[in-house]
């Protein structure tokens, strides 16, 4: 019963936590510009992230180590510095994009400039981290995040042609502006295979003291939870394809996209869109701030954990505090959140191989995982993920030049 509850909460957390500034922004652009043609990167990215999170959860449950602490121990600081530096940079950029997204949601709701909201939003996130526990943050984000299900309701209401939707799940080339199409595909993959999700998931598993008996729950949470999350992401594509594309609106900013839910949900649509953007971004900003503190503390062997008070783990609290001082700067400078998000997604893709590759070695270490090391299926999956990550990293910058 306890395990069932854990799985249910994990699934709710995945649904509620899936949609954030990156996945929402890329999905809106994809649907409004290419209708269902870019559903396949969401599906492919979801398969990749399921494999990665399942492995990081397994490592935490069996070895009682997170991916970052195990990598630091296994490879030494000289190598480990590079994945750490890459993920710190990526997390900071994505955190800044989330704060921009949340501030913009408030601007849409109130008409008051997002620059005015940047500091209060950041302060709210900091207070929640300072005062809250891991469980409280995880579950409140998950429950509030269920507002994003409004996209699923809207997609169902719009009665899409399901055969055409299914066709979008098969990878193919587009004849209309191929560089832009490829750039969007790469950005969607960058938003879906978020490295912070992997390290945050394994840190969360340690916070919740997972044991070997939780491996079944880990598998279910990773696979079913992420799949439900992906359904929300795909619903955004479908909604944008059916409400924005037919009107000739190709989303370039969140302001243009704010009316995506208005046709199916009427007066509620605008407010539900803003609420989804706000909750999704605040939730992801909480997770990213925590992830930054987790990976830095784990890499330097500091005491860490959100359930302890800041006076017990001063350095852990200092890391997220420092990150939150830097993160609102792009919003304060007036940089458009969607453009900043797209840049952050490209940066994520460039850093991805460096962050993912150590997992292949760690997950085959019998001293750590004993009988729970990767089998041929998991190894094949992680090799494919690494190959995809390398390909994307090579393509990301030229595609940003050509299609961005």
């Amino acid at each position: 019963m306890k395990n069932l509850l854990k799985v249910a909460l994990g699934i709710v957390a995945s649904i509620g936590g899936y949609l954030e500034v990156g996945s929402l922004g890329t999905a809106l652009q994809a649907g409004s510009s290419y209708r269902y043609e870019l559903l396949w990167p969401i599906a492919l990215g979801t398969i990749c992230i399921i494999c990665l999170t399942e492995m990081s959860g397994r490592l935490a449950a069996v070895d009682k180590e997170t991916t970052f602490s195990a990598s630091r121990e296994h490879f030494g600081i000289t190598y480990h510095f590079w994945p750490l530096a890459a993920q710190v940079l990526v997390d900071l950029f994505v955190l800044a994009a989330e704060i921009g997204g949340a501030s913009l949601a408030l601007e849409l709701m109130t008409g008051i400039s997002m620059q005015v909201w940047a500091v209060p939003v950041t302060f709210l996130i900091w207070v929640l981290l300072w005062r809250g526990t891991f469980g409280a943050i995880e579950h409140s984000v998950a429950l509030l995040g269920l507002v994003t299900l409004s996209f699923v309701v809207a997609a169902k209401w719009l009665h899409p042609d399901w055969t055409e939707v299914a066709r979008g799940l098969i990878p193919h080339r587009s004849s209309d502006d191929p560089p832009k199409y490829a750039y969007l595909a790469v950005s969607i993959l960058g938003a879906t295979i978020s490295p912070y999700m992997v390290s945050f998931y394994s840190s969360g598993a340690i916070e919740e003291q997972w044991k070997t008996t939780d491996l079944g729950a880990n598998r279910l949470t990773a696979s079913i939870g992420m799949s439900f999350g992906a359904v929300v992401g795909m619903a955004v594509v479908v909604v944008a394809a059916l409400t924005l594309a037919p009107r000739g609106i190709a989303v370039d900013t969140y302001q243009q996209a704010a009316v995506a839910l208005s046709q199916p949900l009427g007066r509620w649509g605008f407010w539900l869109f803003c609420a989804s953007l706000l909750v999704g971004c605040v939730g992801a900003a909480l997770e990213l701030s925590l992830d930054l503190a987790y990976i830095v503390s784990q890499s330097f062997g500091w005491r860490w954990g959100e359930d302890q008070t800041p006076d017990v783990e001063a350095r852990f609290a200092m890391v997220y505090t420092g990150a939150l001082v830097l993160a609102p700067l792009p919003t304060l400078a007036g940089i458009d959140p969607l453009k900043f998000t797209m840049f952050s997604m490209s940066l994520t893709v460039v850093a991805l191989p460096l962050i993912v590759a150590p997992l292949l070695v760690l997950m085959n270490d019998r001293r750590r995982l004993k009988t729970h090391v990767n089998g041929w299926f998991s190894n094949t999956a992680v090799i494919i993920v690494i190959l995809i990550a390398i390909t994307l990293a090579v393509l990301a910058i030229p595609l940003q030049v050509l299609g961005g």
Binding site: R247, A250, Q256, G266, L395
Partner: protein
């Protein structure tokens, strides 16, 4: 790939910029329609009109500064941008109470400008 990016036809970014302009016209028209049915707040309409004007200025500068575009396309695009900026700024004039009123936007003119932008983009795509 990087060298390929240097060889990209100037008509590709031009077409994207023109599509972007048409998309803004469509978005503002839709927002206006929704606002008239009270489906979005007035503050949102004002904001999207303001953002649209700013984006159109950027698009206009991008097109005007491009040195390797056919002159006819460039002139037509910048003229359309000017027209759209004119429609948006005249629509956002101050009313008698001293606040901006975006309800005055000439949506018919905006729809016509969008149509001409689309036509221009398809002609640029055909070259």
């Amino acid at each position: 790939m990087l060298s390929a990016s240097c060889r990209q036809s100037p008509l590709v970014p031009f077409r994207r910029a023109v599509d972007q302009a048409a998309s803004w016209a469509a978005a503002i028209n839709y927002a206006h329609d929704l606002e008239s049915h009270r489906a979005v707040p007035e503050a949102y309409l004002k904001q999207i009109v303001k953002d649209g004007s700013t984006e159109m200025e950027t698009v206009r500068h991008t097109i005007a500064d491009a040195s390797d575009l056919p002159a006819d396309l460039k002139d037509e695009a910048t003229a359309l941008c000017d027209q759209m900026i004119g429609v948006l700024t005249s629509g956002a004039t101050t009313n008698s109470r001293g606040s901006e009123n975006s309800e005055n936007i000439d949506v018919t003119a905006l729809a016509e400008i969008e149509h001409r932008f689309r036509d221009l983009a398809s002609r640029a795509g055909g070259r």
